[in-house]
């Protein structure tokens, strides 16, 4: 079984911006290892020369005419925001503030 350490789990949780408890770290370490063990058949698969598929059908560069159309109503959108002010989303500080 691929070994997934508690440090690995904590690192992945940070990448995913997901706060996890100590108990969740233990549980995820076991469960992720079990699923990845099942996926071990992929690791041993000979895929030399096989291109990856990201999407079932190759539709590329789907463009529309550059014409202005209706868009979402700003007030309706902001009415659903956790916090809004002056027609914008209000969020906590992103950078350190000057003293």
């Amino acid at each position: 079984m691929p070994l997934i350490s508690r440090d690995d789990v904590a690192r992945v949780a940070r990448l995913a911006r997901l706060d996890v408890t100590e108990e969740e770290i233990d549980r995820f370490a076991d469960q992720l290892a079990a699923v990845l063990e099942h996926a071990a058949d992929l690791a041993t698969l000979d895929t030399a020369g096989v291109p990856p598929t990201a999407h079932p059908f190759p539709l590329v560069n789907v463009l529309r005419d550059d014409v202005a159309g209706p868009s979402l109503d700003r007030d309706e959108v902001l009415a659903m925001a956790p916090a809004a002010e002056d027609g914008r989303f209000r969020v906590p500080r992103i950078l350190g503030e000057a003293p």
Partner: protein
């Protein structure tokens, strides 16, 4: 229960009022919804008002459309403007979208009456509807058992007569598997045939919206309404969709149908027996049926749980407390993200975000994500080989009939194995349909699956209709 085809015909002709139809279905809801919990939200007042408007239009000599007065239930991951859309998640509780999904606009424009938003596994991640933040849905055939998932509420709503038709979404089997377990018809269309605009994304290269119905003809009626190009979805197939309703009587004479050997391995004998019976029935109806190997399908489950979780980890990054849904305060924006997502997501969604983030992270990307993408290519090639010799393929939908609530919640991998027969079609982007085909022990429904190459829905529906006729 009256079919959708009959309801629409009678309402358009003025022979039956849409209000009468909707009252019949709301009575069924009043009778069993407390027991089954198919809905996150029942829109009784809106449905009555919508039905009255249909009746007014018929009285005025107008034609409300091909779904005139037909009660339709919508999976709660389809955006409905001004009406809560939760994905059965605390993180979207109370959110009212500022727009309608294209499929919602299309069924309304065709005269359908929306009766409610159906329960589901949170963000469509699950195979039993037990991962809903609002409690599980129960199987109408045996309420001690699951309805399947993730579109379990939509399947149960049709099976219980709460709605004549329903829409769901299918990323790895989330329409076909609950359809089979609830004894109704479920269709996953070709990727791109039906617009995903307004479908809350889980795994964007696999997700597809499709119908639940009480019969093959009803499913074709709904698919014909929702299929077709949508400029708002860049992955929408830019060509007109053929009518599936038009071909239902065409029969299967001369069609070559392969029974997929690999997808029968490990399947319960009572389910495998119904697949054999379906093969015999199609053969008797004039098709040439034989067993075929599609070896790479055995890679599908592993590839899926890497690809789907990787795409989900990216798609669900948007739930951060900044613009909509739940926010848990934090000292800075990073603390807000972490606390909001910890409080808002349930255990299975967290598990899949973690798995997907791991598979995409530096050092593991090629071993897992890259290999899974190459396995996807091999699966598509294996189908291409099979479809060079066969028009359609036949397989089980699920390894077993409906299982008891709680039977698979302790071990995620066991639950994932519920989708082993349905996942290959999502990876290939191909259509597939689940058709009820008899009962197993305890009177529990069994479905069989007809798979088709991309955009071969009409051939698929010919066989599905023939299979349904063989039961009559």
């Amino acid at each position: 229960m009256t079919s959708a085809v009959d309801i629409a015909r009678d309402v358009r002709a003025g022979a039956r009022s849409a209000r009468d139809v909707v009252e019949t279905h709301l009575s069924a809801v009043a009778g069993r919804e407390a027991e089954l919990h198919a809905f996150n939200l029942v829109l009784a007042d809106e449905a009555r008002a919508g039905a009255d408007e249909i009746d007014r239009r018929v009285a005025a000599g107008e034609d409300p459309g091909p779904l005139a007065g037909v009660p339709v239930a919508l999976k709660d991951n389809l955006c409905t403007r001004g009406i809560p859309t939760t994905c059965s998640s605390r993180i979207l509780e109370g959110w009212r979208p500022p727009y309608d999904a294209t499929v919602v606009a299309r069924v309304r424009a065709a005269g359908a009456v929306v009766v409610g938003k159906t329960n589901m596994d949170e963000f469509a991640m699950g195979s039993s509807t037990e991962n809903s933040a609002f409690g599980p849905t129960r199987n109408p055939h045996d309420p001690s058992r699951v309805p399947g998932g993730s579109s379990g509420g939509s399947a149960a709503a049709v099976a219980a007569g709460f709605a004549s038709l329903a829409l769901g979404s299918d990323t790895g089997g989330s329409i076909r598997q609950p359809a089979a377990l609830c004894g109704v018809v479920g269709v996953k269309p070709t990727y791109g045939l039906v617009s995903r605009y307004g479908l809350v994304a889980f795994a964007s290269s696999l997700d597809q919206v499709g119908p639940f119905a009480g019969s093959v003809a009803d499913a074709a009626l709904l698919l014909d309404v929702i299929a077709g190009h949508d400029p708002a979805d860049s992955t929408s197939v830019p060509r007109p969709a053929p009518s599936c309703s038009a071909v239902l009587g065409d029969g299967v004479e001369g069609l070559r149908i392969g029974v997929v050997r690999e997808l029968l391995e490990g399947i319960d004998p009572e389910v495998a027996a119904r697949v054999s019976a379906a093969a015999a029935a199609l053969d008797a109806a004039g098709a040439k049926v034989e067993e075929v190997g599609v070896p790479a399908t055995t890679l599908a489950l592993s590839a899926y749980y890497v690809l789907a979780t990787a795409e989900a980890s990216s798609n669900l990054a948007r739930y951060d407390g900044a613009r909509y849904g739940l926010r848990v305060a934090g000292d800075d924006v990073t603390a807000m993200y972490g606390a909001t997502r910890a409080a808002g997501f349930g255990a299975e969604v967290k598990r899949r975000i973690m798995l997907g983030t791991y598979a995409l992270s530096a050092g593991y990307y090629d071993a897992y994500y890259g290999q899974a993408q190459r396995a996807r290519t091999l699966i598509i090639r294996a189908f291409d080989v099979a479809y060079a010799s066969y028009d359609l393929l036949l397989a089980p939908v699920t390894p077993t009939t409906a299982f008891p609530l709680g039977a698979k919640t302790a071990d995620p991998l066991t639950m994932y194995l519920s989708d082993v027969c349905t996942i290959p079609s999502n990876l290939a982007g191909h259509p597939a349909i689940s058709v009820p085909y008899g009962l197993g022990a305890g009177g529990l429904p069994i479905g069989v699956q007809i798979l088709a190459p991309a955009l071969a829905e009409t051939t698929m529906f010919r066989a599905a209709a023939a299979l349904e006729r063989s039961l009559a």
